[in-house]
């Protein structure tokens, strides 16, 4: 069989979404950001909203998200992504506006902005990548760093007596009336990637229906910051991160999910 008889549109099973640029990702090999970028942009493509979508890049590893996503984007100051998104959304209520933030951005310096944006029910989508560490600045402790977890500023492990407790931001903002949808996902296995993508799609569809704030937390790895191989870090994530940050829906259609 000639190869040209195989390469035909009807035989195409997978391709790079057109909502991603051709730029080489700047993320460490094994990091979840690349997959999360891809599924977010696949959702934008599948919903056919590329020309109506404005993204807000935050500060941290994903600061250059606008290099990889082929959509209009505004880069925001550290922690202020949801405030910037509020300004955009209030002026363009019919555009799809999303933020792409890490745990340092959303759960530390931007805590106030996150809580108040959700409480106002700002009709945006928040994609919250939680890897429990500050990746870009070199592996320092994050507000989401687990008890006992090592980082460059908790080199003997996070001592909650001294350093306080990790914060579960998604559970916290799920309590607010303006939060319509809150879920926690991961992208470490194909099945989880599909679930995470469905969650992001739901979050964007909520925007179309003007339902309020949707937050999709994605627990991810940071093999560089955690000082592990990608495979080790995914295993460590399953064994340590997921028990503390359990995967699954927290609030759906404005109703808190009751765990059995």
């Amino acid at each position: 069989m000639d190869i040209n008889t195989i390469i035909k549109p009807e035989n195409l099973v997978y391709k790079r979404t057109e909502c991603l640029t051709d730029r080489t990702l700047s993320y460490c090999p094994g990091c979840g950001h690349g997959v999360i970028h891809r599924i977010a942009m696949e959702v934008v493509e599948e919903l056919g909203i590329q020309q109506d979508t404005i993204g807000v890049a935050s500060v941290g590893c994903s600061v250059l998200a606008y290099d990889f996503m082929d959509i209009d984007m505004t880069q925001s100051p550290h922690g202020r992504a949801t405030a910037v998104a509020t300004g955009i959304k209030r002026c363009w209520p019919d555009k799809f506006v999303f933020t792409y933030q890490g745990d340092g951005d959303l759960a530390a310096i931007g805590t106030a902005e996150t809580i108040h944006t959700c409480n106002r029910g700002e009709n945006i989508t928040i994609i919250f990548v939680n890897n429990g560490i500050y990746g870009m600045t070199g592996g320092q402790m994050a507000p989401t760093t687990l008890p006992g977890m090592r980082s460059s500023t908790s080199p003997y492990g996070r001592d909650v007596e001294l350093m306080g407790n990790p914060i579960k931001m998604t559970e916290l903002v799920a309590q607010l009336p303006g939060t319509y949808y809150a879920t926690r996902q991961s992208v470490h296995k194909p099945a989880n990637v599909r679930k995470a993508k469905m969650a992001i799609k739901k979050a964007f569809e909520n925007q179309r229906l003007k339902k309020g704030t949707s937050i999709v937390e994605i627990v991810s790895n940071c093999n560089s910051g955690w000082k592990m191989t990608p495979v080790e870090s995914n295993k460590w994530m399953e064994e340590n991160m997921f028990p503390f940050y359990p995967l699954g829906d927290i609030k759906v259609d404005g109703q808190l999910v009751t765990k059995q």
């Binding site: 082929d70 505004t74 925001s76 100051p77 405030a83 509020t86 209030r90 002026c91 902005e113």
Partner: protein
């Protein structure tokens, strides 16, 4: 003639913003400027013009909402007073870096810290020299009347958009709180077509994506960006200097004062002239760009300058640079929320100028 009204300075700003076709206001209450948002809330600008009004959870959030709105090409503004403006500096630096237009009103109060709620001009350095991190400048307008509070809103938006740079109205508790007659300009339509190539509006099929950012990790590119900004500020310094000269033609001595200080100095000039002292008043209207050439010209024919400010001596540094040692330059100021009387300025004229 436009519509005449008796208004507070803060109210005049709010009314002027609606009439200037502003798209959005994001703010956070702080004395002595809270009337701006209160007036807007009462006016329901979303009904009058479709303008967005939102009380943010903090000054930091407010300026970043402005940043977001401005990145889409909308005419956005915010207002605050000294401690709040300090919080906004992060966002202002980002907007200067990303070259976004916006209007910021600072109704200055005494500091440092929480200070007082009384008028002051001690935010001069912060307003004219950058204020946030990095090499940048705002376009700074200093109103001396309620009329100018209204007029400078329109001017401020226009200059901000012309140069894609944040503009600031540097007012103070006197101008913000006092009531005067103001002639309001006609309602302008809000701009509805947004098509400048820098505006983030959603990537349509026939164009490249757009990004608003102040980041470039390549220092070579970042240096070029900084040089481009410097070129822009140079153009602003050449083309946008505004000032007023009052009785300077025959003056032997010059008071330099802006805003509420200039109002007080105008009376002091009268008092001095009654004594036969030939004093004039030079009032910078733009504090950045500072009218250095005009002051330099005056320095060639007068005997001395006195910078009269509600600060410990901030603008006096720019006056000294402009005078460049040709004649003596002194400073007279009241601090921490106190204001000088015309008689006190007259005493200062005797003490520092006529010896």
């Amino acid at each position: 003639m436009g519509e005449l009204k008796l208004m507070k300075g803060n109210e005049a700003v709010a009314e002027a913003a609606i009439r200037a076709g502003a798209d959005a206001y994001f703010g956070y209450p702080i004395t002595p400027q809270s009337e701006v948002m209160e007036y807007l809330a009462l006016q329901q600008p979303h009904k009058r013009t479709g303008m967005v009004l939102l009380q943010a959870e903090s000054e930091i959030a407010a300026i970043n909402m402005v940043y977001g709105a401005a990145s889409t090409g909308k005419r956005a503004f915010t207002s605050s007073s000294s401690p709040g403006i300090s919080l906004k500096q992060e966002g202002i630096s980002y907007m200067a870096g990303a070259e976004l237009p916006c209007l910021i009103l600072n109704v200055v109060r005494g500091g440092p810290g929480l200070g007082t709620i009384q008028p002051s001009q001690a935010d001069y350095f912060q307003s004219t020299k950058g204020g946030g991190h990095g090499d940048y400048h705002l376009i700074v307008l200093a109103p001396a009347s309620v009329q100018e509070m209204s007029d400078f809103v329109k001017l401020g938006f226009e200059l901000a958009e012309k140069y894609r740079n944040p503009a600031m109205i540097l007012s103070d508790g006197v101008i913000g709180q006092m009531m005067e007659k103001v002639e309001l300009f006609e309602q302008q339509p809000r701009k509805t077509a947004f098509n400048e190539p820098w505006m983030v509006t959603g990537k349509s099929n026939n164009r490249e994506k757009r990004v608003v950012t102040s980041l470039d990790l390549d220092p070579v590119k970042m240096e070029k960006h900084n040089y481009d900004l410097i070129e822009k500020y140079k153009t602003i310094r050449e083309k946008e200097v505004r000032f007023e000269e009052i009785q300077c033609d025959d003056a032997e001595y010059i008071l330099v004062a802006y805003g509420s200080s200039a109002r007080i100095c105008q009376k002091a000039v009268e008092l001095a002239r009654e004594e036969g002292i030939k004093v004039g008043l030079f009032r910078p209207i733009t504090l950045y760009p500072f009218p250095e050439k005009a002051i330099g010209m005056l320095a060639q024919r007068v005997k001395g300058f006195l910078s009269v400010e509600l600060s410990a001596g901030q603008m006096v540094e720019d006056v000294r640079l402009a005078v460049n040692g040709k004649v003596p330059v002194s400073h007279y100021g009241r601090l921490g929320g106190m204001i000088h009387s015309p008689e006190q300025v007259l005493c200062a004229i005797h003490e520092f100028l006529v010896r």
